[in-house]
C-alpha cells in the first residue's frame, strides 16, 4: 500500500490533522486502534469542550462527532481496530500494521503524523510504597470502565491528583453511587479548573487535601486502607501528619505522558521536559516528513488547542508532500528562560517565516500578574502582560516575521510582576 500521509491516531489531534490535510491530490490514511474514532473524547462524557472551536459547550463525544462528521465528505481512508507495531524510515516511511480483520499489513508513506495521545502515569513510576492489592488504577481506566462498559470499580474511593481528570472522576463516581472520601494533591494548589473544584468537590463536600500525597497502601488481596501525609516544600512527607482512609479504591490522576515509544526506532530527537519530539514551527521533527501534534507532542488542557495543533500539523504535512522544491531549513533553538517550563516549538526555522509562529508554553509557578518576554540578541522583541498565570494553563505568544531582528535563537521568559 502506498500512502501520501499516514496519521497515527484517530482522536482529537488526528481528526483535525486529517481534515486540514485533506486534498483530492493526496491519499490520506487514519490508523486507529479502537473500533471507533474519537480517542479519549469517547469516554469524556462531561462537557466543557469546544468553547473556543465552536463557541459552544459540548461533551467529549459531541466534540469528536463534529470532526468525524466532517470526515465523511472527504477523501480520507480510515482503518479501525488497527495498531501500528513497527515504523522504519528508508526515504519513505515503512509502516507495519496489525489488525484482526486484515492480519499484518505493510504500507509505505511519504509523511507521517503522530497523533497517538498519552498514557497515564502509573503507581510504579512514582513508587507509592505499600502493598499491591487490587483496587489501584489510573483515573482514566476507571473512567473507561464506568462510562463505556457501565461498571464501578469500587464503592469507597480516594483520588490522588487534583488535575481535571481526578476532579471529574470524583464527581462521576459520586453520581453513580460511590462514596469519594477525598482528593489529595501534592502541590499547594490544584491544577484543575476552579469550576471543577466547585462542581466536582464542593458540591459533594469532598475534601481536597493540598500538599498531601499517598504514603502507604494496605490490603493483601483487595485494597483496605490508604495513608496520606502532608509534604514539605521538598515534597518529603512530614511525620505526624498521617491521615488514614478506609477505602477499596485508589484512583491515580498523577499525570499524562506522551505515547511515543514506538518512534524511538526512527531516532526521533526528544525533549526531556515534554518527553516527546523536538519540533519546529511546522511541527516536523528531526526526521524528515515526521510530524507530531496533540497530546503526543505535549499534554494540553483544552481539546480546542489540540485540534488547532492538529490542523497545523495537517497543513504543514500536506505542504511537505506537495512542495516540489524543499527549501533548506535554518533551525535555531527556542531557549527556555526563567519561570518557563517548556516551549513548543523547540526550534524555529528561519527560512520558513511566511506564517506567524505560535509558541505554546507552560510556566513553572502561579502568578497573579506577569510579563512574558520574547528576547532575541538581548533585546525584548515582544512582551505580553498576563493575569492569573498558572502551570495548569497553557499560554501562547504569536511571533510574526517582522518581529524578529535576526536569525539568532530566541528566549522566552516570564517576569513576575505581582
Amino acid at each position: 500500500m502506498n500512502i501520501d500521509l499516514t496519521i497515527i491516531g484517530g482522536g482529537a489531534a488526528g481528526l483535525a490533522a486529517a481534515l486540514a490535510a485533506s486534498d483530492q491530490k493526496l491519499k490520506i490514511l487514519i490508523i486507529e486502534r479502537e473500533p471507533r474514532l474519537g480517542g479519549i473524547l469517547n469516554q469524556c462524557i462531561h462537557n466543557g469542550f469546544g468553547l473556543h472551536m465552536f463557541q459552544e459547550e459540548l461533551t467529549g463525544p459531541e466534540y469528536a462527532h463534529r470532526f468525524i462528521e466532517s470526515l465523511q465528505e472527504k477523501h480520507i481512508d480510515i482503518l479501525l481496530g488497527t495498531t501500528v507495531i513497527d515504523i522504519q524510515k528508508k526515504d519513505d516511511f515503512h509502516i507495519t500494521l496489525t489488525s484482526e480483520k486484515d492480519g499484518y499489513q505493510h504500507l509505505i508513506s511519504k509523511a507521517v503524523i503522530i497523533a497517538s495521545g498519552c498514557y497515564e502515569r502509573t503507581r510504579g513510576a512514582v513508587q507509592i510504597p505499600g502493598e499491591r492489592p487490587k483496587g489501584i488504577m489510573p483515573a482514566g481506566s476507571a473512567q473507561r470502565y464506568l462510562n463505556m462498559e457501565g461498571y464501578l470499580v469500587g464503592k469507597r474511593v480516594f483520588i490522588l491528583g487534583s488535575g481535571d481528570i481526578g476532579l471529574i472522576m470524583a464527581r462521576r463516581m459520586t453520581l453513580e453511587g460511590a462514596e469519594v472520601l477525598g482528593v489529595a494533591e501534592l502541590m499547594p494548589y490544584s491544577n484543575g479548573l476552579t469550576r471543577n473544584i466547585v462542581q466536582c468537590l464542593n458540591d459533594f463536600d469532598i475534601p481536597l487535601y493540598l500538599s498531601h500525597t499517598v504514603t502507604n497502601i494496605k490490603g493483601k488481596d483487595v485494597l483496605e486502607q490508604i495513608t496520606i501525609q502532608q509534604v514539605d516544600d521538598r515534597f518529603e512527607p512530614i511525620p505526624g501528619t498521617e491521615k488514614v482512609f478506609e477505602v477499596d479504591t485508589l484512583l491515580l490522576s498523577i499525570g499524562l505522558i506522551p505515547d511515543v515509544g514506538l518512534f524511538d526506532s526512527l531516532q526521533m530527537q526528544k525533549s526531556p521536559m515534554t518527553k516527546s519530539a523536538i519540533v519546529d514551527q511546522s511541527l516536523m521533527t528531526n526526521v524528515k516528513g515526521l510530524f507530531v501534534c496533540g497530546n503526543a507532542l505535549h499534554v494540553h488542557d483544552l481539546v480546542d488547542w489540540v485540534s488547532k495543533e492538529g490542523e497545523k500539523a495537517g497543513k504543514y504535512a500536506k505542504a511537505y508532500i506537495l512542495e516540489e522544491e524543499q527549501r533548506l531549513k535554518d533551525l535555531k533553538s527556542v531557549i527556555v528562560g526563567p519561570n518557563i517550563r517548556y516551549v513548543v516549538p523547540h526550534m524555529i526555522d528561519f527560512n520558513h517565516l511566511d506564517e506567524p509562529i505560535q509558541c505554546s508554553f507552560r510556566v513553572t509557578k502561579k502568578m497573579a500578574l506577569g510579563l512574558f518576554k520574547v528576547i532575541q540578541n538581548g533585546k525584548v522583541i515582544i512582551q505580553k502582560k498576563a493575569k492569573y498565570i498558572a502551570p495548569a494553563e497553557m499560554e501562547n505568544i504569536v511571533i510574526k516575521k517582522e518581529d524578529f531582528i535576526s536569525n539568532d535563537p530566541i528566549e522566552i521568559s516570564l517576569e513576575e510582576l505581582a
Partner: protein, 478 residues
C-alpha cells in the same frame, strides 16, 4: 488417596512435582493461592547463582552448583527463558579485593566450574556504566538469569503431562495422621488423603510443620526483600549480574538484567515480624538507591515502572532443611529455602527424591520430559508469524501495545493446562500489563477476553485471588 501431595507450588514444589512424576506414583501439588507460584517465586532476583557465596560443605553450596548446571537441561526440556549473563562481584579498594580472594577460594571449594579476576578497567569494557571506583572484579561466567514463575508453570505443565495434578485454592489448615497416611484438612472443608506429604510451603513451612510436629527443628524468620523494576527500554545497559561484596544479611543490592529485557534493582534484606507483609517501603527504596551508588551512578531511575517486595523463608536452621519428619515417616520438609533456592531448585528436587525419600521404584519408561509451550506471538520469526496469524487471526489484534501481546496469546494463556483466569495470572503468562503503562490501557481488554473465554460476567473476573473482582457492581442496576 494419593501417593504424594506437595504443599506449595512455588519453584520448589513445582520441580518436586515434576521429579516425582517421573515415577509410577500419583502426585498432587496444591497451593493455597489462586495460581501456581504466588510468593517468593514471584519476588526474587531471578538469578541462577554460580555458587561463589554459600558456605562450603553445606547443602546450599552443593545444590546451588548442581542446580546451576541442571538449568541447561531444563532450558532444553521445558523451554524456559535463560539468559547467560555471567556476573561480576565488584571491589573498590584493597580491603575489598582481599575479600574477592576469599570468594575466589570459596568458589573453587564449592566446585564452581569457572571463575577468574578482571581489573576494574577490563570489567568496564563490557560494562561501561560500572562505577569508576571499582578496581577489581570476580567474574563468574556460569551465572545465569531465568524467569522463575515461568519455570514453575512449565514444570507443573510437564508434571501434569506425565500424570500429576495441580489444585489451587487448597489451603491446608490442619493435618491428621491415620493408619499409614495423612489427611490434609482444607479451609473449604474438604480433605485430601495421601500416603506421603511434602512440605514445600515456603514462608509457611514451619506453620505446616507444626501441624504434625510439636517442635519442628526449624523456625522461619521471614526477611523482606524489596526491588525496583526498570522498563525494557533499559535493555542492554547492563549485561552481567552485578553483585557487591556479600555481607551477613546476604548477597547485597544487585543490578540484574532480566530475560524479558527489564532490569531488576535490589533486594533489601531485613527481618520482619509479619511473614505475609509484602509491602514496599520508602526506607527500603531509599536504601536500594544508596547502595547502588557504589555499583553505578548511571542507573536510569526514570525508567522505573514498578516496585515489589517478597518475603524470604529464612530459617533458624543454618542450611536448607530437607529432611523426613522425625515423628512421622512419609512427611518430608523442604524448608528454609531462601537464597540460593531458585538456583538449587532442580537439584533440591532430585536430592529429595533420591537421598531423602530414597525412591525405590524405577522411573517410568514413558516419562516425557519435554514441554513445548506455545511461544508468545511477538517472539516468532516473521515467517512463523505469518503462518500462525493465518491459523489464528486473533493474533492480529494487539491487546498490550507495551509488551506486544495479542488476543490469541491471552486466549492461550487462559486455556492451557496450567492456564489461569485472573488479570495477574494472564500477566504472569502472557505479559499483558507488565510493561510501561502497567495495564493502564489493556487491562479492560484483558478483562473482557477472560470474561468471554470463561463464560463469566465482567464483574466476576478476579484481579488475582478469589473474590477480588476488578469491577464491582454494574451501574444502573438495583
Amino acid at each position: 488417596m494419593k501417593d504424594y501431595v506437595i504443599i506449595g507450588s512455588g519453584i520448589i514444589g513445582s520441580l518436586i512435582a515434576r521429579e516425582l512424576s517421573k515415577y509410577p506414583v500419583s502426585v498432587l501439588v496444591i497451593d493455597k493461592e489462586n495460581d501456581i507460584a504466588s510468593h517468593q517465586t514471584t519476588a526474587n532476583s531471578a538469578i541462577i547463582h554460580s555458587g561463589y557465596d554459600p558456605k562450603p560443605g553445606t547443602l546450599k553450596a552443593k545444590l546451588c552448583v548442581e542446580g546451576n548446571a541442571l538449568y541447561d537441561q531444563l532450558e532444553k526440556e521445558l523451554s524456559i527463558p535463560l539468559l547467560r549473563t555471567g556476573a561480576f562481584v565488584v571491589a573498590h579498594n584493597v580491603e575489598e579485593e582481599n575479600m574477592l580472594t576469599h570468594l575466589y577460594e570459596r568458589s573453587l571449594m564449592n566446585g564452581v566450574p569457572e571463575v577468574y579476576y578482571l581489573s576494574g578497567d577490563e570489567a568496564r569494557q563490557s560494562e561501561p556504566l560500572l562505577s569508576e571506583s571499582i578496581t577489581k572484579v570476580l567474574s563468574l561466567p556460569t551465572t545465569k538469569v531465568t524467569f522463575p514463575w515461568e519455570v514453575a508453570i512449565h514444570a507443573v505443565a510437564n508434571a501434569i503431562k506425565n500424570g500429576a495434578e495441580f489444585r489451587r485454592n487448597a489451603h491446608v489448615v490442619s493435618i491428621d495422621r491415620k493408619d499409614d497416611h495423612f489427611i490434609l484438612n482444607l479451609k473449604d472443608g474438604t480433605t485430601i488423603q495421601s500416603k506421603n506429604v511434602i512440605n514445600a510451603s515456603g514462608v509457611m513451612s514451619d506453620i505446616i510443620a507444626k501441624m504434625i510436629e510439636d517442635t519442628p527443628e526449624f523456625e522461619i524468620k521471614p526477611r523482606k526483600g524489596e526491588y525496583f523494576v526498570l522498563d525494557r527500554k533499559a535493555v542492554g545497559l547492563f549485561k552481567h549480574v552485578i553483585y557487591p561484596l556479600p555481607t551477613a544479611s546476604g548477597k547485597g543490592v544487585l543490578i540484574v538484567p532480566q530475560t524479558h529485557g527489564n532490569i531488576l534493582l535490589g533486594p533489601t534484606s531485613y527481618e520482619i515480624s509479619n511473614r505475609e507483609d509484602e509491602s514496599t517501603t520508602r526506607d527500603g527504596m531509599k536504601y536500594i538507591k544508596d547502595q547502588l551508588k557504589s555499583l553505578s551512578t548511571k542507573i536510569p531511575y526514570d525508567l522505573i515502572i514498578r516496585n515489589f517486595a517478597g518475603v524470604r523463608a529464612t530459617s533458624t536452621y543454618d542450611d536448607f532443611y530437607i529432611q523426613e519428619s522425625k515423628i512421622y515417616p512419609g512427611f518430608y520438609h523442604v524448608a528454609g529455602i531462601d537464597s540460593p533456592g531458585l538456583t538449587a531448585a532442580p537439584a533440591i528436587a532430585k536430592y529429595l527424591v533420591q537421598n531423602i525419600i530414597k525412591m525405590a521404584l524405577p522411573k517410568k519408561t514413558n516419562f516425557d520430559p519435554i514441554h513445548q509451550p506455545k511461544p508468545l506471538f511477538h517472539s516468532l520469526s516473521d515467517e512463523d508469524k505469518k503462518k500462525e496469524i493465518e491459523k489464528f487471526p486473533k493474533h492480529g489484534h494487539l491487546v498490550c501495545k507495551c509488551e506486544k501481546v495479542t488476543e490469541q496469546d491471552i486466549i492461550d494463556a487462559i486455556h492451557q493446562p496450567t492456564g489461569n483466569d485472573t488479570i495477574k495470572g494472564i500477566k504472569k503468562r502472557a505479559r499483558a500489563g507488565a510493561g510501561l503503562c502497567q495495564g493502564g490501557y489493556c487491562e479492560s481488554e484483558v478483562l473482557k477476553i477472560i470474561a468471554r473465554e470463561t463464560h463469566k460476567q465482567p464483574n466476576e473476573v478476579n484481579y488475582y485471588a478469589l473474590n477480588t473482582p476488578i469491577l464491582t457492581k454494574e451501574t444502573k442496576t438495583k
